[in-house]
Symmetry: C2
Subunit: 238 residues, 2 copies
DNA sequence: GCAAAAGTGTTTTACTTACACCCATGT
DNA sequence: ACATGGGTGTAAGTAAAACACTTTTGC
């Protein structure tokens, strides 16, 4: 630091060299009742050509980072009412071969069967199992790992798992989701008791159809009720 | 989004207008056995002249955001071995009167009596009680509030409170710290039992001196032992 | 009627909460 | 000897964990 004034002024007029590019990258997690997947696009830039890349773009002049992330979600899925959480800024000086670029990383959560990838994007987009991705363009593998860690943490302390399921889901589907993403085993009866006690599910009085076994009851997440309970001190924890 | 290629390429050569300035702001929390305080500097820029401002600076060409934050800590305190946590990116297009500036906000934790503010910075720096700050330069009040919320959250789930105390501290000091920062009351015996069970404190077999009552035993935080226990699944929670 | 998954209670154990007295030091 | 805060244990209540059988549907 050259002088006090830099810090004192904090933000005075400066020369060009401190300007840099800023992007957002979205780790779009998807779930299809099997695997946790992540949406990738094939990179068409050397030296990463052909490698899977996260979905990202520059932050435009007239938008903030959140808006840029939502724009990407809308672009890929036609929808921007999607759970979105900022995770971390990646800013190593040499992280991008084309020059100084910092990236705000986000993750978001969708149910794969309920998500229609838009035509324009669809041609290039792939859902890949997070377990199977070993190598990605840029530092995207590091971003993915960081976001996955954050997802696992948030999943245990906030009721966000529902975003990975269809609007209507069975308790078994919900339990399996937690087991798959967190790589743990849960006791069926204890899991159900816990959710019953939280009182954040609405019984749709509807059943699964066309399953060759006893059909499960369907529920939806009662987000309004949860918000009310949370402000009264309800602690969600799986 | 104009075209697929922006997202596909993710980061191609672009014109100048997407470049912007990036700063870090540090919410340096300090504790003096009384109040939670935050380090501020008097803003010398219109239209915020005279108002308290957080400590911040531009991210330099050859450093990442973490390094910039550490540089600020070193500049203010002569020390960069300080607890530091990234919180959020602030990026509204109109947040800064001098043009497009995005800011990565961090908070850090120090014990005020153990912290010597460096001469150069000292002239302009003030510790202010977080309760008493109503108005700050730029969007720094919003940044402070966000970081304070994050601190309160992290304090309950990670053993970081020690960073606000001297290296040697009594159990009473530790309890009071939690009570002050979280604005709650804790039961003395239950608090002590919990810490004993976590087994993350080292009894220094030393006592307070020059107090006009029974002297308290002094402890230090056993960070190495905690890291070992944490990787074996120990959950810290106050 | 059989295969396949849904649904349901109880007991044991661990953790959390509430609570009151004696102890060591300085003055 | 007294004022001040330091230090300790127990009992009751609540939440977590472990565990097995009956029910409903499709074929």
């Amino acid at each position: 630091m050259e002088s006090t004034s830099r810090i004192v002024q904090a933000l005075g007029p400066l020369d060009e060299e401190v300007k840099l590019r800023c992007t957002v990258d979205c780790v779009i997690f998807g779930y299809d009742q099997e695997d946790l997947k992540v949406l990738t696009i094939e990179c068409n830039m050397e030296p990463f050509r052909g490698m899977p890349s996260l979905l990202g773009d520059f932050v435009a002049q007239d938008e903030d980072a959140d808006s840029a992330a939502k724009r990407i979600l809308k672009y890929c899925t036609g929808n921007d009412e999607i759970y979105l959480e900022e995770v971390k800024c990646f800013s190593k000086p040499d992280r991008h071969p084309f020059g100084r670029v910092i990236t705000i990383a986000y993750y978001s959560l969708v149910s794969i069967p309920q998500t229609i990838l838009t035509d324009a994007a669809g041609k290039h987009l792939n859902w890949r199992s997070v377990d199977e991705i070993t190598c990605m363009a840029f530092d995207h593998k590091e971003i993915l790992d960081t976001c996955l860690k954050q997802l696992r943490h948030s999943l245990r302390e906030k009721p966000i798992g529902f975003n990975l399921l269809p609007k209507k889901f069975s308790l078994k589907q919900l339990q399996t989701l937690y087991e798959v993403v967190l790589d743990i085993e849960l006791d069926k009866r204890n899991f159900r008791r816990k959710l019953r006690s939280l009182n954040i599910l609405i019984d749709l009085e509807e059943q699964q159809r066309e399953v060759n076994h006893r059909p499960a009851k369907l529920y939806k997440f009662d987000d309004k009720s949860f918000e009310k309970k949370r402000s009264n001190g309800l602690k969600f924890e799986i």
